[in-house]
């Protein structure tokens, strides 16, 4: 049985507040936090300004007068002595700790246990990946890599919160200054544009190669994504944001990263479910060495690569002009 509630009652419910918060029509700070406008700097004529500066200078010279201020002199000497002593102590402790470490490559080392032996002996059969490292981080330890991707995603969210400049709301003087700063960039640098035109396609193709060949040789999603991101940053530097906004906007990044992270989580859920319940996975491992092999690893690599490339580019755009 469903019943209608009045507008007044609906306004008090939690779902209404959640809907408003999702829409962005509700500011959680309004009415909750005491807000005060920034103090406006007082107008002063040049005479007052000179007087204030002189007072400050006199005060500083009086405080930092080494000749007379004995306390400061003693403090400086003690500070330097203590810092040197602390550094020496730290170096000594670290060297003593290093001398107790086991020798490199000794078969009796605690690192050489049955776990690494299992990875080396059965890795190729179980994961289908020629590159044992990729097989480890995207199959045996895929949960860690999922966490790393989410860490990157959360880092981007934090950078967005801190550095994003909202164009619609009122701009204060600082925002305008930031915009002026980006207007001073050389707009059509012929040398940079020529170099970018030659270099950007190979860089991005190399990044795609590194992502797709992650299970066959050195490489993988993270490094390939970083290479693609670097190529995109070079492209932006040469041709400006108008050219990249044709194919890469904030909404594109949002869709791409959410899709990639969701795809990663879903495929990993599947393999965790089958693995924990000893069900045979329907995804074929393929012949080791072929490009379409090693089950889910290729898909996971592509997902991680998309997230990392978008994150690198978003970091750059946020630092450069606070939004794109």
């Amino acid at each position: 049985m469903s019943r209608k509630i009045s507008e007044e009652q609906y306004r008090k419910t939690r779902s209404y507040r959640l809907a408003r918060w999702l829409d962005g029509t509700k500011d959680p700070y309004v009415g909750e936090v005491e807000m005060r406008p920034q103090p406006v700097p007082k107008e002063e004529n040049w005479r007052q300004r000179e007087l204030r500066r002189k007072e400050k200078r006199d005060m500083l010279t009086h405080v930092y007068d080494i000749e007379r201020n004995r306390e400061l002199k003693a403090f400086r000497i003690a500070y330097q002595a203590v810092s040197v002593a602390f550094c020496l102590f730290l170096v000594l402790m670290l060297l003593i700790a290093v001398s107790y470490l086991p020798t490199i490559g000794h078969p009796e080392n605690p690192a050489n246990n049955e776990v690494s032996a299992r990875y080396i002996e059965n890795g190729l059969q179980e994961t289908g990946s020629v590159n044992i490292v990729t097989g480890m981080i995207l199959d045996y330890r895929a949960f860690d890599t999922l966490g790393e991707s989410h860490v990157l995603f959360i880092a981007t969210c934090t950078v967005l919160i801190l550095l994003r400049l909202d164009g619609k709301k009122g701009r204060n003087a600082r925002d305008v200054r930031v915009e002026d700063d980006s207007a001073h960039e050389p707009e059509n640098d012929a040398v940079l544009q020529l170099v970018a035109r030659i270099l950007v396609p190979p860089i991005i193709i190399f990044g795609i190669y590194v992502i797709l060949g992650g299970h066959l040789g050195p490489g993988g999603g993270f490094s390939g994504g970083a290479i693609i991101g670097a190529g995109l940053i070079l492209f932006v530097n040469a041709f400006g944001f108008e050219k990249t906004e044709r194919f890469f906007r904030a909404s594109t990044y949002k869709k791409l990263s959410v899709t990639a992270l969701g795809c990663y989580s879903l495929s990993k859920c599947y393999s965790f479910y089958t693995g924990a319940n000893h069900i045979e996975s329907v995804i074929p491992l393929g012949t080791p060495g072929a490009i379409l092999s090693s089950g889910l690893i290729l898909i996971l690599n592509i997902c991680v690569g998309i997230v990392v490339a978008g994150t690198m580019y978003t970091f750059y755009a946020m630092f450069r002009k606070g939004g794109y």
């Binding site: 050195p218 490489g219 993988g220 940053i233 970091f315 630092f319």
Partner: protein, 90 residues
């Protein structure tokens, strides 16, 4: 190979010390970049090419670009910028 290793390691220590001792922030970032490059060569010698690729792309590439941008934002990139700011303050 041992000699080459030793040269690289000495370079690494020199780079790490000179990053903190350099007065110019731009120079520190460039030295930091070369530190990452030497580190990636050392990763190749230690037979981990995966890490070498990541170190070269992230350490030498993207991190340095973000550092440059930050320096530009705080107007520490060029002498003329700083002087202009000081003049504006006065």
């Amino acid at each position: 190979m041992t000699v080459f290793n030793c040269i690289l390691l000495v370079f690494l220590v020199v780079c790490a010390v000179s990053v903190s001792l350099s007065k110019n922030l731009l120079n520190s970032i460039l030295i930091f970049m070369s530190y990452s490059l030497i580190m990636s060569i050392i990763w190749i010698i230690l037979e981990s090419p995966d890490l070498a690729i990541t170190e070269a792309a992230v350490g030498a590439g993207v991190t340095s670009v973000l550092f440059f941008l930050t320096l530009k934002k705080i107007h520490a990139m060029m002498k003329s910028d700083q002087e202009e700011d000081e003049r504006k303050d006065e």
